[in-house]
């Protein structure tokens, strides 16, 4: 159970990445910084209640997502480079505004959410699962979901067929940032003392979860909840490594190699001997 609790924020981040990947834009490297900033805002707003804190967190996500979307969809930016830069920008703003202090979650609604259990399962886990599954169902039924997948599969063809590719890209990055912010919010509910540097480099574990869940880097395929599955698998895998006695450093080594291996295998299985060449 504690594994699920630790995995919940990463799962939210992975789901966000899923939208970007399905759209075919490879990934969003600013998820960690966004989650961190959102967590700080949520904690700061926590005296006003859990809902206000959530709104604040989502506002952070919306802002970051809009900037990312603008740079990538409208200004034709390279997703990897732009989000790499944005990670630093968001992190710097976060540090500047919060002053780098340690913030502690006040005993209020927010931490109540973090400590409640429903039928033995921590509430944050349930909330995350519900949100991800709902988003995924909505994605598979709604037009915006189909447009995202089509644009990711073949951008030019989608454009000709009438899909507003720019809008889909913008939506993908906004969704990603909002899910990251949501992940930060979830983290804020149960972390007692929020140290500012809440893993700003959580981009890789998030991407690892998404890829492990079966979403192709090249876009067009997959559903958001695959990422949830991948993140949970990764979480249990990490736990197994810990139980086996690996130090956190050795775990990192294994995780990095795992990502490469998984991507290689999934590409190999999907495309056979000829692996598709990306721009990077």
């Amino acid at each position: 159970m504690s594994v699920l609790l630790a995995v919940a924020p990463v799962a939210a981040l992975s789901t966000g990445e899923a939208f970007v990947m399905i759209r075919g834009k490879f990934c969003d490297l600013s998820v960690g910084a966004t989650a961190s900033a959102a967590a700080v805002v949520a904690v700061w707003l926590s005296p006003h209640g859990a809902v206000v804190a959530l709104l604040g967190a989502l506002a952070v996500g919306l802002a970051v997502g809009l900037v990312n979307g603008l740079a990538i969809a409208v200004l034709n930016g390279n997703a990897i480079i732009v989000t790499l830069g944005m990670a630093s920008v968001v992190s710097a703003i976060d540090l500047g505004v919060s002053g780098g202090r340690n913030l502690s979650v006040s005993n209020g609604q927010l931490s109540n959410i973090g400590s409640s259990l429903v039928a033995g399962v921590p509430l944050p886990v349930i909330i995350t699962a519900v949100v991800v599954v709902t988003a995924s169902i909505w994605f598979s039924r709604a037009q915006w979901g189909r447009h995202l997948a089509l644009a990711g599969d073949n951008e030019r063809a989608a454009q000709i067929a009438g899909v507003s590719v720019r809008r889909s890209t913008m939506l993908a990055f906004v969704l990603c940032a909002c899910f990251s912010a949501f992940g930060g919010y979830i983290l804020a509910t149960y972390v007692g003392n929020l140290n500012f540097t809440v893993e700003a480099s959580t981009a890789l574990p998030a991407i690892a979860g998404t890829v492990l869940g079966g979403i192709s880097l090249f876009g067009g395929a997959g559903l958001p909840w695959y990422a949830l599955l991948g993140a949970v698998l990764l979480g249990y895998f990490d736990n197994v490594l810990l139980v086996l006695g690996l130090s956190p450093y050795q775990e990192e080594i294994v995780e990095g190699l795992l990502v490469i291996g998984v991507v290689y295998l999934t590409e190999r299985i999907s495309f056979g001997k000829e692996t598709r060449r990306a721009t990077f």
């Binding site: 200004l75 630093s88 480099s201 991407i207 995780e255 990502v259 991507v263």
Partner: protein
Amino acid sequence: MTRLRLFVSRRPLSDFRGYLVLLIAYVVGGAVAPAMFSTESIRSLVTYSVPTALVAIGEACILIVAELDLSLGAILALSGVVFARTLDAGAPLAIAIIVALLVSALCGLINGLCVTRLGVSSFIVTLGSSFSIYGLALAVSSGVIVSLTDFGPTEWLANYWFGFVTPELLIFLVLVGAVALIVGRARWGRALYAAGGDREAAIRWGLPVRRTVLKAFILSAALAGAAGIILTIGLATGDPTVGSDTLLSAIAGAVIGGVAVSGGKGRIGSAACGAVALMTLQIVLSERNVAASPEEFVTGLVVVLVGLGRFDIGGLLARHRRGEADPERRDHEMAFGTGYLGDQTK
């Protein structure tokens, strides 16, 4: 009458952007903080920017061949830690340098093999390997910063000539010159541009593209390793957590210097100057502020800006106002109506 060619190179002027930007950055920086022109400042600028510039020229090689290496920061950290550990274990300086460089080159080799043989996209490979290599650096250093005790050549290193020519600067110039010559003239260098400009055409022409890319990864890793060694000597400590800021500045510096993210363009010397220009900007910023965030913010902003592609504001606004579709889309709509088959819910 033959026109007098003022400039022998056939490369576009934007390739040499880095020199211009460095000049501007230095002049503006000097105007804002006149202390910049003192020899002490130049010396510290050199010390501060050599590691980043070395990583930048390595990253430039990778970008020219249309790949991306996100693990150079990690390699820098690992190299520094390995160097420090080897020295502490009693090895002579030359051996420690060789060991650290070999380890770095090995990382580059693994990166390159995953990209060329496994065919996995270089961004994923280097994202994963950066994680692993940082883990390795932490493991080697057991999580702590390794201090250099009893380091021999410290006296020699404190020398400088003509006010600002330090040994570091000399080593840096030699390395940059060597790489620039190789990339500019040698066969491997030309293959870099060919493979980066049009990968498939290069393959069809029979160029040894795989070997070229592999060598690029090894070289950039070795350069990052050298940067790590220099940084460790400068700080007298091997830190397993450094590198991510350096990597960011290196990528931004290279692109500022004219290297295109899409590949096939750019010059090594210009990339180095672009990196130094960015470092100059950071120093100027830090002289006016105590907090670290303005530098991080500005570097991040620069990275975002250099990552933007070609866009036409006039065209965007016009199309938005007129609601005009592109011709192929119009033809499709005339034939099939708006929407597409997948939209029909019946």
